[in-house]
C-alpha cells in the first residue's frame, strides 16, 4: 500500500499499535455500538439525513469538551473551567457576529479568546507550578463572571444562515468533528504533539530526554481553550443566541466523558478515541432512555450502572489476569 519504504515499515506497525491502544476501551466501544443499534432500532428516523444531523448536533459540543478535557488529562492536568469557557465562547459569538465584526471577526474573537485564556492558564499552571485544579477553579469564576459581564442575561443573536448551516438539517457538525479528529491526528505527528504523552506520563524522564515538556503542556491548555470556546460558538449557533450560563454542565460532563473513555487522571494514559466514545455514550444514553420510556428516576439509576459497567469491565479483566 505504501510506496515509500520507511513509512511502509511504520505502516506495518501502525495498525497493531492502534489495536493495542484500544484494549482498555473495547468494552466501551461495544456498549456504544449496542446503544447506537438500539437507538436506530427505537428511532428509525435516525437513519435519515436530518435525524442523523440532529443527533450529531446534540453530541458535537460534548465531543469537543471531552477532547478539551482529555488533552489536559493526558498531560497530567485537568480543567474545572471548561463549562465557563463554553459559556464565554457562546456569549462572545452571540454578541459579535451580528455586529460590526461580522461572522469572521466574531469567530476570530472566539478563537483568540479560547487560545489566549487557555495559554494563560497553561502558563500559570506550568511555569508557576500551581495545581491545575486550583488555577482552573479560580479561572472558572473569573471566566464565568466575564461571560455574565458581556451578556448579563440570555440574549444576543447568531445570523440565521449560520445557525442553519451548522445546526440545520445537514450533518455539518459531524463533518466538522471528523475534521477536528483529523487535525488531532496531524497534531500528534508534530513535535509538540509527540511530546504530549511523554510530558504527561513521565515529565522528568521526558525533560531529561530533551522533550519540550513545558511547551507541550502549555500548548495543550491553549488547544483545550480553543476547543471549549469553539464548542461555545457551536452551542450559540445551535440555539441561535447566547446564554451566559449555558456551559455550566459541560465541566463535569467533560470529565465524565474522558474518564469513561479510559483517560487516566495521572496523565499519559488513554486515547482520544476513548474520550470521544465516552462523550458519545453520555449523549446516546439520554436519547435511548427517552425512547425506552424510562422515568427520570430510573434514568439516574441506569446511567450510573452503565457508566460503572463500562469503566469496570476492563479493570475486572485485568484483575482476573
Amino acid at each position: 500500500m505504501n510506496t515509500v519504504a520507511p513509512s511502509g515499515q511504520a505502516g506495518a506497525l501502525y495498525w497493531p499499535v492502534q489495536l493495542r491502544r484500544n484494549v482498555g476501551v473495547r468494552s466501551l466501544f461495544a456498549v456504544v455500538m449496542a446503544f447506537l443499534v438500539a437507538y436506530g432500532f427505537l428511532f428509525p428516523g435516525l437513519l435519515t439525513a436530518s435525524g442523523f444531523a440532529k443527533f450529531t448536533q446534540s453530541w458535537f459540543p460534548l465531543a469537543l469538551v471531552a477532547m478539551a478535557q482529555a488533552i489536559l488529562m493526558l498531560t497530567g492536568g485537568i480543567s474545572l473551567a471548561i463549562g465557563a469557557m463554553v459559556s464565554l465562547g457562546a456569549v462572545i459569538a452571540a454578541t459579535t457576529m451580528t455586529g460590526p465584526l461580522g461572522i469572521a471577526g466574531g469567530a476570530a474573537a472566539v478563537a483568540l479568546t479560547g487560545v489566549g485564556i487557555g495559554a494563560a492558564t497553561g502558563f500559570i499552571v506550568v511555569k508557576l507550578r500551581l495545581p491545575a485544579i486550583v488555577v482552573t477553579l479560580a479561572g472558572s469564576f473569573i471566566i464565568g463572571g466575564a461571560a455574565l459581564l458581556i451578556l448579563p442575561r440570555p440574549g444576543g443573536a447568531i445570523p440565521e444562515w449560520l445557525s442553519d448551516l451548522l445546526a440545520g438539517n445537514t450533518p455539518a457538525a459531524f463533518v466538522l468533528l471528523m475534521l477536528i479528529v483529523l487535525l488531532w491526528k496531524l497534531y500528534l505527528a508534530t513535535p509538540l504533539g509527540l511530546s504530549l504523552y511523554a510530558a504527561g506520563e513521565n515529565p522528568v524522564g521526558a525533560y531529561r530526554s530533551g522533550v519540550p515538556v513545558d511547551g507541550a503542556r502549555i500548548a495543550a491548555y491553549a488547544i483545550s481553550g480553543l476547543l471549549c470556546t469553539g464548542a461555545g460558538l457551536f452551542v450559540a449557533a445551535q440555539t441561535g443566541s447566547g446564554d451566559p450560563v449555558i456551559g455550566t454542565a459541560f465541566t463535569l460532563n467533560s470529565i465524565a466523558a474522558a474518564v469513561l473513555g479510559g483517560i487516566g487522571f495521572l496523565g499519559g494514559q488513554g486515547t482520544m478515541r476513548g474520550a470521544l466514545a465516552g462523550s458519545l455514550l453520555l449523549s446516546l444514553m439520554i436519547s435511548v432512555m427517552f425512547f425506552l420510556g424510562f422515568t427520570p428516576v430510573a434514568q439516574y439509576v441506569a446511567q450510573g450502572l452503565i457508566i460503572i459497567g463500562a469503566v469496570a469491565t476492563p479493570q475486572f479483566r485485568k484483575v482476573q489476569q
Binding site: F43, G45, P154, G155, I286, S287, G293
Partner: protein, 350 residues
C-alpha cells in the same frame, strides 16, 4: 361500547359548547402551531428542566393530577416525562427526542430563556402544541406562554417593603441565581420603586440558588458586616426563610421582609409574628399548561400569552394558607386552590 359512546357524546357536547363559546369571535381560528391533524387521545410530553427541587415535584404533581383527569375524559392517553438535570443542552436534546417520537403536545419550563428557541420552532412546524410556563423562552414559535408577571412581583414586593419601613432605611436585597431571567426580571421590577425612594439605601445584594441553606449562609455573613438593617427585600420564598433563620440564629431582631408561599417561610412568619407580604408562582401553572395544551389540540383558540394574576398573602389571609399546610411537603409551597372553572376563566379572560 356504551362507555365509548358516552364519551363520544360527552366530547361532542364539549365540542359544541366550545364552538358556541368561540362563535362570537373567530369560530375556526386554531391556536399557533396547531394544524388540526392530531386526534385525541393525545400524548403529552413534559420537558422538565430539573426535577429535584420541591417546587418542581409539586408542579409535576399538579401535571400528573391534570393528566389523570384528562385521561378520564378520553383526551389524553400518555404522559412522557423528561428531566434535563439543570442542563439546557440536555433539555434541547430531550425536546428533540419528543419531536422524534411524535408527541402531540410539549409543555416545558425552559432551562434557558433563549437556548430552546430553535428546537421549539421545529416542534411548532410539526404541529405539536407547545405550552411554555414559568421560565419562558424568547420566541413566538409556541402555542402559548403562561406565567405570572415577574416584574410586577418585584414591584409589589418593593412597594410593600418601602411602605413597611416608612419610606426610608437600610435594606438587603436577596436575589435568585445570576443570569436567570426570572431572578433578573423580579429584580428589575423592584427598581422603579427603589429609585423613587432615595432614602432607602441598599446595603448589599445576594445571588443564591432558590434554597434555604445558601440564602441563610449569605445573609449570615451580611449580618456581621451590617449591624443596622431595617428591612429585607427577598425575591424568593426559600430565600426569605433563610434570611429569617439567619436573623434568628444571630439573635437579631426580625425586620420587615417580603417573600413567597414557601411553607417554611409562612410558618416562620406566623411563629415570629413577622411584618410580611408574600406572593407566589402557583404550582398549578403546570396543570394549567397541560389543560391549555389539550384545549389547543381540540381546536380551541388559546391566547399567545396567559398572564396569571399574582395571588397575594398578607396577614388577612395567611391563616387560610396555613390551615392547609398539612397537605403540602414541609419544604414545599402552599399554593392557592385551583379547579377547571378557574382554568376556563383564565383562558377566557385574556
Amino acid at each position: 361500547m356504551t362507555k365509548s359512546s358516552f364519551f363520544a357524546s360527552a366530547s361532542a357536547l364539549c365540542l359544541g359548547l366550545l364552538l358556541s363559546l368561540g362563535a362570537g369571535s373567530q369560530a375556526n381560528a386554531a391556536a399557533k402551531c396547531i394544524k388540526g391533524d392530531r386526534k385525541a387521545p393525545y400524548t403529552i410530553g413534559w420537558a422538565n428542566i430539573y426535577s429535584v427541587p420541591t417546587w418542581m415535584k409539586q408542579t409535576q404533581g399538579t401535571i400528573e393530577a391534570e393528566v389523570e383527569t384528562l385521561k378520564k375524559q378520553g383526551l389524553v392517553d400518555k404522559l412522557v416525562v423528561t428531566d434535563a438535570q439543570g442542563d439546557a443542552n440536555v433539555q434541547i436534546q430531550q425536546i428533540q427526542s419528543m419531536i422524534d417520537s411524535d408527541v402531540d403536545a410539549i409543555i416545558l419550563i425552559a432551562g434557558s430563556s433563549t437556548a430552546p428557541a430553535r428546537v421549539l420552532a421545529d416542534a411548532c412546524a410539526k404541529g405539536i402544541a407547545i405550552i411554555n410556563f414559568d421560565s419562558l423562552v424568547d420566541t413566538d414559535q409556541v402555542t402559548a406562554k403562561v406565567n405570572t408577571d415577574s416584574a410586577q412581583w418585584g414591584d409589589q414586593a418593593a412597594k410593600f417593603l418601602i411602605d413597611a419601613i416608612g419610606g426610608k432605611g437600610k435594606i438587603l436585597i436577596l436575589n435568585g441565581p445570576a443570569g436567570v431571567s426570572v431572578s433578573d426580571d423580579r429584580r428589575k421590577g423592584a427598581d422603579a420603586a427603589l429609585k423613587a425612594h432615595p432614602d432607602v439605601t441598599v446595603l448589599a445584594e445576594t445571588n443564591t440558588p432558590y434554597n434555604v441553606a445558601p440564602a441563610q449562609e449569605a445573609v449570615t455573613s451580611l449580618l456581621f458586616a451590617n449591624p443596622e438593617i431595617d428591612g429585607i427585600l427577598s425575591l424568593g420564598g426559600a430565600l426569605s426563610a433563610g434570611a429569617v433563620l439567619a436573623l434568628d440564629k444571630q439573635g437579631r431582631e426580625q425586620v420587615p421582609i417580603t417573600g413567597e408561599n414557601a411553607r417554611q417561610f409562612l410558618e416562620l412568619w406566623k411563629e415570629k409574628g413577622l411584618k410580611s407580604w408574600a406572593t407566589m408562582q402557583p404550582n398549578w401553572l403546570g396543570a394549567f399548561a397541560t389543560y391549555t395544551a389539550v384545549q389547543a389540540l381540540e381546536g380551541k383558540d388559546v391566547p399567545a400569552f396567559v398572564k396569571i394574576p399574582l395571588p397575594v398573602i398578607d396577614n388577612s389571609n395567611i391563616d387560610q394558607y396555613l390551615a392547609r399546610a398539612a397537605d403540602f411537603p414541609a419544604d414545599g409551597y402552599i399554593y392557592s386552590p385551583y379547579d377547571e372553572e378557574l382554568f376556563k376563566k383564565l383562558l377566557a379572560e385574556q
